[in-house]
Subunit: 388 residues, 4 copies
Amino acid sequence: MIEGKTTGRSRRIRLGMVGGGQDAFIGAVHRIASRIDDRYELVAGALSSTPERAARSAAAIGLDPERSYPDFQTMATAEAARADGIEAVAIVTPNHVHIPAAKAFLEAGIHVICDKPLATSLEEGRSLEEVLARSGGVFALTHNYTGYPLVRQARAMVEAGELGRIRIVQVEYPQDWLAEKIEETGHKQAEWRADPARSGAGGCIGDIGTHAFNLAEFVTAGTVREVCAEMTTFVEGRRLDDDIQILLRFDGGAKGFLWASQVAPGHENGLKIRVYGEKAAIEWVQADPNRMIFSPLGGNQEIVTRNGPGANAANKRVSRIPAGHPEGYLEGFANLYTEIADAIAAAQAGMAPPPDVIYPTLADGLRGLSFIEASIRSSKAGGVWTAI
Amino acid sequence: MIEGKTTGRSRRIRLGMVGGGQDAFIGAVHRIASRIDDRYELVAGALSSTPERAARSAAAIGLDPERSYPDFQTMATAEAARADGIEAVAIVTPNHVHIPAAKAFLEAGIHVICDKPLATSLEEGRSLEEVLARSGGVFALTHNYTGYPLVRQARAMVEAGELGRIRIVQVEYPQDWLAEKIEETGHKQAEWRADPARSGAGGCIGDIGTHAFNLAEFVTAGTVREVCAEMTTFVEGRRLDDDIQILLRFDGGAKGFLWASQVAPGHENGLKIRVYGEKAAIEWVQADPNRMIFSPLGGNQEIVTRNGPGANAANKRVSRIPAGHPEGYLEGFANLYTEIADAIAAAQAGMAPPPDVIYPTLADGLRGLSFIEASIRSSKAGGVWTAI
Amino acid sequence: MIEGKTTGRSRRIRLGMVGGGQDAFIGAVHRIASRIDDRYELVAGALSSTPERAARSAAAIGLDPERSYPDFQTMATAEAARADGIEAVAIVTPNHVHIPAAKAFLEAGIHVICDKPLATSLEEGRSLEEVLARSGGVFALTHNYTGYPLVRQARAMVEAGELGRIRIVQVEYPQDWLAEKIEETGHKQAEWRADPARSGAGGCIGDIGTHAFNLAEFVTAGTVREVCAEMTTFVEGRRLDDDIQILLRFDGGAKGFLWASQVAPGHENGLKIRVYGEKAAIEWVQADPNRMIFSPLGGNQEIVTRNGPGANAANKRVSRIPAGHPEGYLEGFANLYTEIADAIAAAQAGMAPPPDVIYPTLADGLRGLSFIEASIRSSKAGGVWTAI
Amino acid sequence: MIEGKTTGRSRRIRLGMVGGGQDAFIGAVHRIASRIDDRYELVAGALSSTPERAARSAAAIGLDPERSYPDFQTMATAEAARADGIEAVAIVTPNHVHIPAAKAFLEAGIHVICDKPLATSLEEGRSLEEVLARSGGVFALTHNYTGYPLVRQARAMVEAGELGRIRIVQVEYPQDWLAEKIEETGHKQAEWRADPARSGAGGCIGDIGTHAFNLAEFVTAGTVREVCAEMTTFVEGRRLDDDIQILLRFDGGAKGFLWASQVAPGHENGLKIRVYGEKAAIEWVQADPNRMIFSPLGGNQEIVTRNGPGANAANKRVSRIPAGHPEGYLEGFANLYTEIADAIAAAQAGMAPPPDVIYPTLADGLRGLSFIEASIRSSKAGGVWTAI
């Protein structure tokens, strides 16, 4: 119970949302994340592609009915025309809507915060580059795990050379919620994720594999050069992969492995990363995110905590409360939202964002799609090493 | 990544705050907690007893300067006079201000959310009873640990008899931040906690011992009848206790032990409770709050998770996101705020609160003060069993 | 997989055993412990008070039938008369046999290794002092937990001042095997433990409370001066305590708490000790004995392992195999046997034992009995502080 | 502290040892393992290839000097000629000696217990088949991890279908002791392991990769059909691999991954296996071997303990002491020795071994060598799927 921190703002950013109606999971997460540090005010939405559900959802969260729109295009146009129109939008739909919506808002002069994966294909994702460049707007992708304080600490330690040259990366993201074929039982979340038209060509790889991939590159500040992928669909009749096991070769010689699965009993959201260098290693597990194991070669392992005695500046910068009081998923997500608010404020002032502001961008989204496509090519060829 | 939950509201409760200016810790926590489920809007404050700091703090969090007050009495009077005045106030000051402020707001017709411990003495705490009864208002005490989903599950399991008759309770709350005499180094948080005039007669016992005590009674739905206390001040020259070790006798025959310490190296906020019944036991640790160990006699131990496959209704009711994505301290705190919002809404509608709404009340606060005073009497007498 | 260690001996000590027949638990443990480092050869036994079972048990473990005796007195006399008679005896009977047997062997010039607790009463225990002094023999009490490498490391760290002055000691030994009244179901182990005639006046306190007490004094190199005890019999009709919760005051001002229970669901053998000093703390758990948490004030917690990079000399001295390959209960027990073998060899050579040889002695046994009796007096008086 | 178990024997098997002189690690382990259940008596040895060290080592462990031999061939001949000659021999040398020594003893009518890996090449390993068949002797390979009680439980659960059809296997064995080039510093253990002439073509893969591979096939009762291997030498100038990352395809469709490393900071002996089936999963970690996580799909995770309430017959059968008292590496190793003693006793009686006796055999050794060679071929070809 050490010093506090007064988070606050002079003015909230007016935010809209596309997707995130009732029964959606991630929309509620984005809304909470946007509120935690009080940097946004949600004032408009196209919360569902079903107009009636859109209206009902808008009412449930207290939106002005006038600013509940039937679709994202209408919303972009109408809000751009208002003096008090939204300054940023959160896109939290199934994957196939990400790019069309992002384009509409960027073209309307509205900054975009988009869920991952970026698009249903690399080609589609790339089509955003020109629009974004032209708009001058901020585009952020919510690879939210990069917002955890100890993930920030890990990256800073790698950058500072505290692990020495990186040799090995082990990253995994197992879940068990798709161990049976629940997409045919009316389960909304499962349904669209199992549908190539809405998800893209990747199932498990798109949904959580890209998170693991992004985390591995983020923490190591490294680049995966080649993959050798074994992608499997264990549940009979499922149309997309539900388990991926992928060997990784990094620029610079590090070797790695990425496992993501949605059929691994006992795992709720088992994201875990381990990075081994010549001098030391780190291990971090998302389900218990307030501690990280630091293993200096030849010394005792140490337990580094969020905001604790061994916290570095990168860790403290995004911690709100004293060590020992756990922060969680929503606070990590909120850290991204706050970084993005800083970036938007800078953009509005015509300035570059402050140098310590970190958030995933379009480039990260394209890396993820390249990873998906290279892995699918590798796997379809029977498991051959394939360049990303 | 299962079903989501649309939290929301038709109308936010207008909230004020007393205390919680810059450098305070718990004020920021209350503000975030009040925002997470979007049930409150902070519109007024008397954030510091130093007028200049009050104004600066108000500006930092975006309050209307007109509604930043120099003291709580002025605020109570002014807000009560406004048509859009606050409906509730959060009191997050050092302990000696709790009761005077609570009285002022209750008498002005404003509901009160108060940090713990309730008061600097039992006598002072009791003086609130009559005022509260007369006001008809809601009074909530933020023993926030009762808001954690697995604490709710534990209590419901005990109530349902799943542990059998309770035999043993072990509760502890060790910290290490006062292992040295930092109260003389300008550390604000330490300073007032070490000062009997602002803290009351209890140091460690008031600051965290009451949390542990409240949690023990909450989870077991039990009542501690007698204590035998060993209260110690390890740091030379400190004016209040910094370590308490207390034997407990419960109504119904259970035996327990409560340890709280602020001088125990390695513990950040090590709140932990273990309850053993005739048929089973549970164990929960605040620093890793999304799991609880359930130990049925004669069977394997089980790991119950927040919102996971073994979650009961009480657990699910206050969970926001899927299992495996950790919720933390702020979400637990927010659960109290949301319960209290329901209670306030019911009161405003002239109705009783819904039956599943749970939050700590004046009665809990008085229990805590009785515990403090009985323990001090016990310890001063050299460690004799003393009735609460 | 670091360097090995050639354990061995020039000559094995000839060992006898009293108790430890079929259905006994601890006899088999002593036999394995005596073999692990190859310092003993078991050649004689009075394995059971039932002659037929004694013979059957002797045959099962390959004893020469001629050296299987019907009772300890016969064995002491006969073995003392043989040129190749036993040099040491392990007494592994119920408690009431310890002292009579120990006297018989010491008087016959045979060294004694005795299970704990020492006796059924302090008075009985003290009666051994004179016999032992006269005999000049070695008397060792198997408080086996003191044989674990990390327990040795902890004690050495305390002695070296690495924790600073000790403030707080928390020790506990919960089990659950007596949560129901199994002593009436023919369970041999439970039966004698629940019988005051064979156990003495202490139930849980004698069986495992003394282990916890011994460990607390061993690790802290401290002396408990006073106790305030709450001893309970939770299982109806049981004749001895099955749960003890005891406040401790140490010489030098440290405060502590000891909990032992045999009715705590989920605990198999949950021995755990935590020691907090002014500068640092340690935590060790018997069920996972190859690691210890070291918590320096103001630094990261560290994980010290058996024979690992942070192992001190005391830890390495009693480790056999590389770190990461777990040693367990039997190896810790064997460490005592090996220490005792060194002590016996020294005695046989007319020399003092090497200075780093550590094993519990009669003095420890008497401390344990004093602890039991003081606690019973304290508890019977309603829970008053009582000098040991 | 439940029922004990009288381990014993009517007659000890006379055992010899090849290798295991001073400074060796694994020889001491074999000797302790052979003593724990008192089924063997070590009476002869050729403990070192350096005659003087052989003699010194023999003296240190109390061998009759007459039965300390300068080399294994002399020992095989001499012991076969004695009426009281050894019945079995333990071969604990560097890998290149395994096969020549095994042949010498089998041909002399002496049973063989051999350390792993079996040989320096598959071809060399296969050359033992005919000799063994002709001899009618017992040949056991000490893949000691299969002796842990919970590994036995895991296998039995898979066999009984409690996990359903197996989908995913994750096995890893990271260490850190070769993170630097210690083989050039006079470190005996490192020296021969880094020398292809003594180790064979595999470094890390032979030393610990084969353990992980054997464990994966043992627990799943499955067969790996193909591998895709990425073998790396991270330490400059080292002649053999020090990190292997290998994708596995099992007969029956399961997919897996095997990681072994000797350059992963923080890992002492981090052997860990996770097996995921359609209905449930298990997870077991060697460093904390007395517990296993069992994860039934849709239920709470459970903690299964050695000899505890959820122990099955396979677990109990090889447990010595009550749950909660940790058994470790040496006890697991001893379980193999005891199984092998039963097999030898059966062979001596001209009978088949009891059906529940389990120990790794020549077939397992050949599997390991096939795995090494297929992996090397795969890796050398740049990482292509290769049949075992």
